[in-house]
C-alpha cells in the first residue's frame, strides 16, 4: 500500500505550484491591461503612417533616398523579437519556428540576426548564423527612445550596404488568448500596389525633406509598434498559459486528495479488520 505521508507531501507541493501559477497569472493580467492599451493607441497611428508613406513612396523618385533602394543582393537581416522569460506557452517557440522557416526560404542568402529577448538568444547563439546585435531585458520596460535607436542602427546597416533586406519577425496581438506570428519586410520600403490614380501632390517644404523626415519616423513607429505588439502578446500568452496551469494543478489536487482519502479509508478498514480478528481470536 502507498505511503500516506508521500501522498500528503505531493498534495502540498502541487498546492504550492498552484499558488505560484495563480500569482503569475494575476501579474500578467495587470501587465497585459497596460500593454494592451499601449498597442491599441499606437496602432491607428502606425496604420495611417503606413498609408501616407505608401502614397509618398509610390509618387516619388526612388533615387531620392537610400532606404528606398530595392537592390538585388542576397544578404538578409532578421530582426527576431522574443521574450526574455519563458512560461508563456508557445510564444517563443512559434517565433523561433517562423524565423527558421524564413532562414530555410532564404537558404542561398547570407543570413544575419538581430535578436531581441533572451529566449531568442538562447536558441540562436549556438547556431551558425552571425548575430549582428542583441537587445536583452527589453520586456521590463520598452521606451520609445530605444525604438529610435534601433531604427537608426538598422537604417545605418542598410545605408552602409551591409545588408540588402531586413525582415522583422514578431508576435502580433490579436486577443488575450490569441497571437499571430508576423513577418514583415522592414527595408527596403516597397509601396503596396494600389489602384488609385496617381495625382500629383503639392509638397511643403519639398519632397526630399518630407521623405527624409517621414522615413525616419516611419522606421521608429514600425519598430516601436512591433515591440509593443510582442509585449502585449507575451503577457496574453503567459496569462493563458498560467491559467491553464492553475486549472491543471487544481485538477491534480482533486485527484490526489481523492486518492489520499481512499487510501486512508483502506488503512482504517484494514486496521479494524485486524482488531476484530484479534478480538475474535481471544474469544476463542
Amino acid at each position: 500500500m502507498p505511503n500516506l505521508r508521500d501522498v500528503k507531501q505531493r498534495i502540498k507541493s502541487t498546492k504550492n505550484t498552484e499558488q505560484m501559477t495563480k500569482a503569475m497569472k494575476l501579474v500578467s493580467a495587470s501587465k497585459l491591461r497596460k500593454a494592451q492599451e499601449a498597442i491599441q493607441t499606437v496602432r491607428p497611428y502606425g496604420h495611417k503612417m503606413r498609408e501616407v508613406m505608401n502614397h509618398l513612396v509610390a509618387r516619388c523618385n526612388k533615387d531620392l533616398h537610400p532606404l528606398l533602394d530595392n537592390r538585388t543582393g542576397n544578404r538578409v537581416l532578421l530582426v527576431v523579437i522574443t521574450a526574455d522569460r519563458g512560461l508563456c506557452g508557445g510564444f517563443n517557440t512559434n517565433i523561433v519556428k517562423m524565423a527558421q522557416e524564413l532562414i530555410e526560404e532564404n537558404k542561398d542568402s547570407d543570413i544575419s540576426l538581430f535578436i531581441a529577448g533572451k529566449k531568442g538568444l538562447d536558441f540562436f547563439q549556438n547556431r551558425p548564423y552571425p548575430i549582428e546585435d542583441k537587445y536583452l531585458g527589453w520586456t521590463k520596460d520598452f521606451a520609445y527612445l530605444k525604438a529610435v535607436e534601433i531604427g537608426e542602427m538598422l537604417a545605418q546597416l542598410f545605408v552602409d550596404d551591409k545588408t540588402d533586406r531586413i525582415y522583422m519577425v514578431y508576435n502580433e496581438f490579436k486577443s488575450i488568448i490569441q497571437q499571430e506570428v508576423i513577418r514583415e519586410q522592414l527595408l527596403p520600403i516597397v509601396p503596396e500596389e494600389s489602384g488609385e490614380d496617381m495625382m500629383d501632390y503639392i509638397f511643403e517644404p519639398d519632397e526630399e525633406t518630407i521623405l527624409e523626415d517621414l522615413l525616419k519616423r516611419y522606421m521608429t513607429t514600425q519598430i516601436y509598434r512591433a515591440f509593443l505588439e510582442s509585449s502585449a502578446s507575451e503577457h496574453g500568452a503567459r496569462m493563458t498559459a498560467m491559467d491553464a496551469a492553475s486549472r491543471n494543478a487544481k485538477e491534480m489536487i482533486g485527484k490526489l486528495t481523492l486518492f489520499y482519502n481512499r487510501t486512508r479509508q483502506a488503512y482504517i478498514t484494514k486496521e479494524l479488520i485486524e482488531i476484530v480478528n484479534g478480538a475474535e481470536a481471544l474469544k476463542g
Partner: protein
C-alpha cells in the same frame, strides 16, 4: 461636388484623437498656416508645432499639435502628429514652466547643432501651447 472633409487626427500617445466630418481644417503648415476646404488639391506637408483647428457647422474646435505631417487627398485630411491636445486640456502652468526651461536652455551660448535644435523645438512647442490656451 462634396462640400465636406473627412478629418482624422492620430498620435502615438492617444487613441484616434479626432475622427469626424468637418467643413474646414486649419493647419499649421511648414511654410505657414493654411486653411483647407473641401476639394483641395492633394497635399503633403510637414507640421510645425502650433495651433490647429477645425470647423464643424458653427462650431470651431481648437487643438495644439506638435511635429508631424498633414496629408490631403480627395477630401480626406490625415494628420499625423507626435502629440495633440485640445485647447481646454492644456495645462497653462506646465506650458509656462516648459517655456521658461527652454528659454534658459537657449540662453546658454554653447549649444550646438542637434542640441540647439532640440531646445528650439521645445520652446516652439511651449509657445504653441500658450498661444492656443490664451485664445481659448
Amino acid at each position: 461636388m462634396a462640400d465636406k472633409l473627412f478629418l482624422s487626427l492620430v498620435t502615438p500617445k492617444k487613441e484616434m484623437v479626432v475622427d469626424a466630418e468637418v467643413d474646414q481644417v486649419n493647419i499649421p503648415g511648414f511654410d505657414g498656416d493654411m486653411g483647407i476646404l473641401a476639394n483641395h488639391a492633394p497635399l503633403l506637408t510637414l507640421l510645425r508645432p502650433g495651433r490647429f483647428s477645425y470647423q464643424k457647422g458653427d462650431e470651431e474646435i481648437e487643438l495644439v499639435v506638435s511635429e508631424g505631417y498633414a496629408e490631403v487627398t480627395e477630401n480626406r485630411v490625415t494628420i499625423l502628429a507626435e502629440s495633440a491636445e485640445f485647447a481646454h486640456e492644456i495645462d497653462h502652468d506646465r506650458a509656462e514652466a516648459a517655456r521658461a526651461a527652454a528659454e534658459k536652455l537657449l540662453e546658454k551660448a554653447d549649444l550646438e547643432g542637434e542640441a540647439f535644435k532640440e531646445a528650439q523645438d521645445k520652446l516652439f512647442r511651449a509657445l504653441a501651447r500658450l498661444e492656443t490656451r490664451k485664445s481659448d
